[in-house]
Amino acid sequence: EDQVTQSPEALRLQEGESSSLNCSYTVSGLRGLFWYRQDPGKGPEFLFTLYSAGEEKEKERLKATLTKKESFLHITAPKPEDSATYLCAVQLYNNNDMRFGAGTRLTVKP
């Protein structure tokens, strides 16, 4: 059965304390893996798409990487404004919907 699992469920960091969020998946025929950020009461905001193992993408303090089994979202020197829930989702070949993990709720304390 296709599954997307994110860990940890919640993460509390001090400002400047770098860490990584994990998204592991067991799917057949991965077409793309997506990372979104969601603030309370808002819709998911697109961050990255990764298509093949070994691919990396960066945006400000965030870097996403992809292997054949998992993706990491690395956060370097986070700031309080990085506090949010980070969602990953997979999309399969010949299928347009996305399957989401439950998210990691990140809190960055000043």
Binding site: F34, Y36, G43, A89, Y93, N94, N96, D97, M98, A102
Partner: protein, 115 residues
Amino acid sequence: GAGVSQTPSNKVTEKGKYVELRCDPISGHTALYWYRQSLGQGPEFLIYFQGTGAADDSGLPNDRFFAVRPEGSVSTLKIQRTERGDSAVYLCASSANSGSGETQYFGPGTRLLVL
């Protein structure tokens, strides 16, 4: 340019009532998606439109749920005989094309509460 918009932002209704939720996609986007998000969970796929037609409605939980997109732009999600278990955030997303791998851009959602 404007993003995906959804109305109303909040909807409170009573069990058994009928509700309609509206989605305005990004201008020019041909693909439109509806998802449902329960508290503490990721969004769950409901239905996908390519143009005016529902290309995949496999995520609709039962026949009380129905969605339309008559002119290939605005979409309405309709829920009949609402139940307390329908309470959730209903998210709409759109993408420029329908190809797998296209980025989906989400609206702010409609928070539905069924009393």
